[in-house]
């Protein structure tokens, strides 16, 4: 445990000249093009963008599940060649092993590393305690609520002491209240572990509330449209979401994404319709429309 908690900051993610395309019957499809991003050690960075912009593709490439068509992904200078326990991942669908109890799920990474049973049991219990889940260690995931499942998912990804944590819309399936609690839990864990985080979401409030920096992606083929530092002080409180600083950031990001969402929908909406949509948007809160 101590080894995990006091590890020297590391986990510098770098993505350079990245593009990714795949073959389809109509020819190659460009999913992501000409993208550079980086995450400094211990930094919390989010990627937001319209749906289908390739933000998950980018994350999967950092995880090592997808190979870039051009460009390179490195973590601490080492090229990413495939998935590894150095890069923990949390999925939207929780992806807990249904046949393992909560504790066995958390132990999985340590078991793969060859840690003896008694040692990994102790480690898993400590971690579950931090997440307030010690009472559920013997439960199967089926019996847990969505929020609890995702807490187990996060704890499981952190158990091996990865250099970076990758999260793919982890709270997308949760209700609003649970989501807020989960954001708080994630922030707490991140601050304790001083781990680098790359967080993909389509929720702008979530991105601002959690991050040190936010990348905004363009519509497909995705690339980085803007990089927005979030200078809000930490620890962050729920009340900050009403501050003028927060709302200004939100407005900025909203308009960036709106442009891209409209572009992405352009194929389906005629120019006339788009203009109509634009006019209507001026009077309304953008949040209601998007």
């Amino acid at each position: 445990m101590n080894e995990i908690l006091t590890k020297a900051p590391q986990g510098h993610i770098e993505v350079r000249n990245f593009s990714l395309s795949y073959e389809s019957i109509e020819g190659p499809v460009q999913a992501v093009t000409d993208t550079q991003i980086h995450v400094k050690p211990g930094e919390f960075v989010s990627i937001v963008g319209p749906s289908g912009c390739g933000k998950s593709t980018l994350l999967n490439a950092v995880a090592g599940f997808l190979k870039p068509t051009t460009g390179i992904v490195t973590v601490d200078g080492e090229r990413v060649n495939g998935p590894s326990a150095e890069r923990g991942m949390v999925f939207q669908q929780y992806s807990l092993f249904p046949w393992k109890t909560v504790r066995e799920n958390v132990e999985f990474g340590l078991k793969m590393r060859g840690m003896p049973r008694s040692q990994r049991e102790r480690a898993a219990r400590t971690l579950l305690g931090l997440a307030g889940l010690e009472a559920f260690e013997k439960h199967y995931p089926d019996k847990l609520s969505g929020g609890m499942k995702q807490r187990v998912g996060i704890v499981r990804a952190l158990a091996t002491g990865p250099k970076v944590l990758l999260l793919d819309e982890p709270f997308g399936a949760l209700d609003a209240q649970t989501r807020v609690i989960m954001q708080q839990i994630l922030t707490n864990m991140w601050q304790r572990l001083k781990i680098s985080v790359l967080f993909v979401t389509h929720d702008i409030d979530e991105a601002i509330f959690l991050s040190d920096r936010v990348y905004c992606m363009t519509a497909r083929p995705g690339s980085i449209k803007a990089e927005i530092p979030i200078p809000l002080e930490r620890p962050r409180q729920q009340a900050m979401m009403m501050s003028s600083e927060f709302l200004a950031l939100r407005r900025g990001l909203m308009s960036l994404i709106r442009e891209e969402s409209l572009k992405a929908m352009g194929g389906e909406i005629s120019d006339m319709g788009m203009q109509g949509l634009n006019i209507e948007l001026h009077g309304h809160s953008l949040a209601d429309v998007i």
Partner: protein, 290 residues
């Protein structure tokens, strides 16, 4: 479930204070009855329906009803019961049953030992699938009974050819269901294991295998049923012992009560063996208990 979720999210909750006096036996019995009403109802109706079946059988045979179907020579339930009480003291009858069970045990176990690993390997490695699947598809529609002459040619002893036919009956359902289970393994779980540091071997053992288990057990249950069908057919045609042979012999020797006795014995044995498999499934897959 919402209440449980709320409690779980809030963390440990003090246990409700126990009632001042323990509930009386009458209250408990009433509560137990209310909770199990549906089950009790089903059991009661089941018993009544079985008794009605026996009664109809009894009436049809005592009055030797002939109405398209001829009950003239069909033994009555009492006659069958009489021959049952005689048979359980007859070592020869027990030997018939024992031998049938042994053939099932050998044939079915072989089918499971070959079919499950083959299905797992075919599901994991495309080339193996591409090589074996066409042959399996061509052989699969051939009923095990159609194999009897071929089996007699193939195997030096009668016993071996009967076990072989039992094996064939069980093999294909087991193979096909294992394959089906493998094709349904959630790829996100595989990815989750990969970024927890699992290598090919561990992924196979810790993800693919347990994820396919429910379908494997469906295959085993279906396979057990078909194994009995094939065994009885094989015994009737080529056997010298076994409960199928017993039933056929009873017909040849005009022992009508023994025909029904043999049929009921086959039914009970089939039921017993599928219960065994279901029990094994619950032991192996505790996470599926509701």
């Amino acid at each position: 479930m919402p209440a449980a979720t709320a409690i779980a999210e809030a963390g440990p909750v003090p246990a409700p204070s126990p009632p001042a006096t323990p509930p009386s036996f009458g209250t408990l019995a009433l509560r137990w009855y209310r909770l199990n009403r549906a089950g009790l109802r089903a059991t009661a109706i089941g018993v009544i329906s079985l008794l009605a079946f026996l009664l109809v059988w009894h009436l049809l045979t005592t009055y030797r009803v002939v109405f398209f179907v001829r009950f003239t020579n069909v033994p009555s339930p009492l006659a069958v019961y009489a021959s049952f009480t005689k048979a359980i003291h007859d070592p020869k009858f027990l030997l018939h049953i024992l031998l049938s069970c042994r053939r099932i045990l050998f044939g079915f176990s072989l089918a499971a030992v070959v079919g499950v690993p083959l299905g797992l390997i075919m599901g994991r490695f495309k080339l193996v699938h591409e090589i074996i699947f066409p042959v399996a598809e061509v052989l699969r529609p051939i009923p095990a009974i159609a194999w009897v002459p071929m089996a007699i040619m193939l195997w030096p002893t009668n016993e071996q050819s009967i076990v072989f036919i039992t094996f064939l009956g069980a093999f294909f359902p087991i193979l096909v269901n294992t394959l089906h289970g493998m094709s349904l393994v959630d790829p996100v779980l595989v990815r989750a294991a990969q970024c927890l540091g699992a290598r090919e071997r561990s992924i196979f053992r810790q993800v693919y295998f347990p994820a396919s288990l429910p379908h494997i057990f469906t295959g085993l249950t279906v396979g057990m049923g078909v194994a009995w069908v094939s065994l009885i057919a094989a015994e009737m045609i080529s056997g010298q012992y076994g409960i199928g042979y017993f039933t056929w012999e009873a017909y040849s020797l005009v022992q009508y009560a023994d025909i029904a006795l043999g049929m009921i014995a086959i039914g009970v044995l089939g039921l017993g063996s599928s219960l065994l498999i279901r029990g094994a499934g619950q032991l192996v897959m505790p996470w599926r208990l509701k």
